[in-house]
Amino acid sequence: MTAVEHGRAGAALAWRRAALVGLGFGAGALHLAAVGVLLMLHQRWIVIDTLSLGQATVLLLAGGAGAMAARDADARLARGALAGLCATLPLALLSLAMDAVTLQPIFIVLTPDLQAMLTLGMPPLLAAPALLLVGVAAGLLGAALRAIPALSRALLPGAIAVLIAGVFQELIQLMLQQYEGPVGEARDFVYTWEGLTQQGAVTVFVVVTLIAQLAGRAARGRVAAMEPARRRQIWAGIALAAIVILPAAAGSYIGQVLMLVGLYILMGIGLNLEVGLAGLLDLGFVAFFAVGAYSTALLTADAPNALMHLSYWAAMPISVLLAVCVGVLFGLPVLGVRGDYLAVATMGLGEIVRVIVLSDFGAPLLGGAQGVLHIPKPQIGSYTLSSPVALFYLTLVAAAIAAFIAWRLENSRLGRAWMALRDDEDVAQALGINLVRSKLLAYGLGAAFAGLAGSIFATMLSSVYPSSFQLLISINVLALIIVGGMGSLPGVVLGSVVLIGLPELLREFGEYRYLFYGAVLVVMMRLRPEGLWPSDVRQRELHAGDETAALDAGADLLPARE
């Protein structure tokens, strides 16, 4: 083959790739349409009377396909256009098919409303080409943004800001709602209750673009000069500060959401000791959470089956202690079980706890299906921690303590023993590590944090029901530490925010929460299996030892290698 032929074959391949990328995105769009997401998104405006969230999604998909296809050096725009075309092709075909036959008896969401969205009211024979044309345009734009950095730098910040302002409009409005005066006026200028106004969208776009241009020029030099790890720390610090301040500023709903995030962080830290450090894959973690919640309930509640009527602060340590006991009891029988088998065994144990809590058999003590009601809120002096914001700060303190303990443990003799267990149990034992003790400590300490979370959970709700302790909780916690980054404390926080906080903030799409969840898990595992914030390679020799090494230099002149 000659070089020209090679080139031609390569080009053909690139074209085929562009088409395939487009079709992949198109399949995604088709899936969204078929399960009803697209229509639901279409019923929400980003910019009122101009752009619905559903339309934006289609544009984003086509644009994304265009950007992906514009990877190679030549014919970027054309390939982007092809990809955009292919990305809208399935939807166009769907619209034609819906015109020809009624699919609704089988696929319940393929309704006239969806058809109206896809055709914008035009006759289908005209609408399908129009949709394709839109796809080509979006693909072109996507490719152009990728190909020309200056263009993307100019357009993207503003566009992203408009998108965020539109998608989270409900949340932002809720936060701004409590303010009157200039804030209120600005709010009314930018938003109505349906979404961004047209002038609002333009304003947001212009303002953010300007800020981005100015700030970008000023900050680029300084930020670029920093080492990446440090930059990441600064960002983490800012994000953490935002989490801490936000509830106080934004009110009870944010407080409530972050409180749930905090509870999951607490559980995530606990499970991280078990899974991330000691390598004990545990799918029955919810049991410890349940023990914490039920102990607090039974020790404090004003209910007929309560055992005592302690104050919350007295009940909390007892609950944690009971959770530890159950953790150790859990660990004992499964000491010899490893890997995936352990996951299944612990899942079974968790389910056993749930079934017992729910059953009529356990009802005289635990309340059965009716749960335990009237759990008092914690009090400090005469102040009752009843608002979500107050309880959030309680959770935050608990999570901070847990994180501190976990961090200290990680760098201790026990933490090293756990990591050794995780890597090779037999060798660890041959080096003198007591398996029984180390594993039970992992279960016990992990359970302690879950028990603490459960205890706060019970007082948050003032009631506990068995339905709150589903297998799903265990899976959520495991997923968040894996999405965040196994064995990494900041990863736990990030994972909770993404997997718990985000769906809570977008509750209006709650119907599709688990669809999103499933997709995120698969995509994460494919694109970033080490997690969003993987644990650092721990630097122990040079960081702790540098000084010693420097002092010793000259004293030891042995060759580094034999």
């Binding site: 969401v109 065994a345 729910l358 599709y512 669809l515």
Partner: protein, 362 residues
């Protein structure tokens, strides 16, 4: 310590070397044995059930057990070849049942299913199998293949993600209501065996399940592809060095597992008459338990494990729990299933019938 060692070490426990752990494990065994024996004696003393009713319990257990067994086959084969707990397998069963529904329903309405039961059932099964297989292959390609060489819990998490995704996709496309499978008259009739009434559909399900599983066993044992599959299960790297196309084997495994899942889905729906998007989850988990019970990686083990689990679930509450006077024993059915699963994992991690899987999988 691996399970194999644990199992061996038990008889060697001598006084003075008994650890607290051993005491806990022994008390666990004694407790379970006590519940089983005391309950059984209680049930016999109470003498509440007639022989026909005991026979019915067994029959119900066999039916659901046969279905568990077929689902368990998919788990066991995939685990054998990929060391992956295909958490979404139960949902692939659901996909098959759904596909079957969209064929069965019009066939029943037109009367075809009553007039030509064999052709009708074949058509339903064919569509279900095709759908399940297709979806199983898609999940393998999109979600599992990237993890072929990854250790740790990543693949399991991806599988959980696939499970959610499939459930919610079907919910979105076909709605969340419970759909009813048709019940043509010939399925509802019963006939007599040794003086006991047996529903025809149960016998059909058990019979066909045995046929399909036997067929599967032959495929795995006798065909070239089946041999390659077993080779990969034994040692994937060595098999690849021997010139076996591991990819092809994995695809083949998913085809077999998906097909069995489709069949199981249709049977399940014909026995219990319902399809809805969440239907695959619980039987999926239980079937995985059955696979472990029988020794994961072993095909006859999965079959026997499934049937055993079905029997224990069906008979257990009446025999053990009712005998002890525990209220609402059938609410605790899952408790029995999971206790059985855990006992097996603790004391016989190679399964009740598995021997050869010893080290690397425990």
């Amino acid at each position: 310590m691996s399970g194999a060692q644990l199992a061996r070490s038990q008889p060697r426990i001598s006084v003075g070397r008994v650890s607290p752990v051993d005491i806990v494990l022994w008390s666990l065994r004694i407790l379970v044995l006590f519940v089983v024996f005391a309950g059984t004696i209680g049930a016999i003393v109470k003498d509440r059930y007639t022989a026909a009713q005991w026979f019915d319990f067994v029959m119900f257990g066999l039916t659901i057990g046969a279905i568990y067994a077929q689902i368990a086959l998919g788990y066991t084969m995939v685990y054998g070849v990929l060391r992956l707990i295909n958490f979404a397998h139960g949902d692939i069963v659901m996909c098959g049942a759904f596909a079957g529904y969209f064929v069965a329903s019009p066939l029943d309405r037109s009367g075809f299913l009553t007039d030509h039961p064999v052709i009708g059932m074949a058509a339903i099964l064919a569509v279900a199998v095709a759908t399940s297989t297709g979806i199983a292959l898609l999940t393998e390609r999109i979600a599992y293949r990237p993890f072929r060489r990854v250790a740790g819990s990543g693949p399991l998490i991806a599988a959980i993600g696939v499970s959610f995704f499939l459930e919610q996709t079907f919910r979105g496309m076909f709605g969340s209501s419970v759909k009813s499978y048709p019940a043509p008259a010939w399925q509802r009739s019963t006939f007599e065996v040794w003086g006991f009434n047996v529903p025809r559909i149960d016998v059909l399900v058990i019979g066909l399940a045995i046929v399909f599983m036997a067929g599967l066993y032959l495929i795995v044992q006798r065909t070239k592809m089946g041999t390659a599959m077993r080779a990969v299960a034994e040692d994937a790297e060595a098999a690849a060095l021997m010139g076996i196309d591991v990819n092809k084997v994995v695809v083949f495994t998913f085809v077999l597992g998906g097909a069995m899942a489709g069949i199981a889905g249709v049977f399940y729906a014909f026995v219990y008459k319902q399809v809805y998007f969440f239907m695959g989850f619980t039987p999926g988990i239980k079937a995985f338990g059955a696979a472990v019970l029988g020794g994961i990686g072993s095909i006859p083990g999965a079959m026997i494990g499934g049937v055993f689990l079905g029997l224990v679930e069906s008979v257990g509450p009446s025999l053990f729990l009712d005998g002890l006077g525990i209220p609402a024993p059938y609410q605790l059915r899952d408790l029995i299933a999971f206790t059985l699963l855990i006992m097996v994992l603790i004391f016989r991690p190679n399964g009740i019938f598995g021997e050869r899987m010893a080290k690397q999988r425990a």
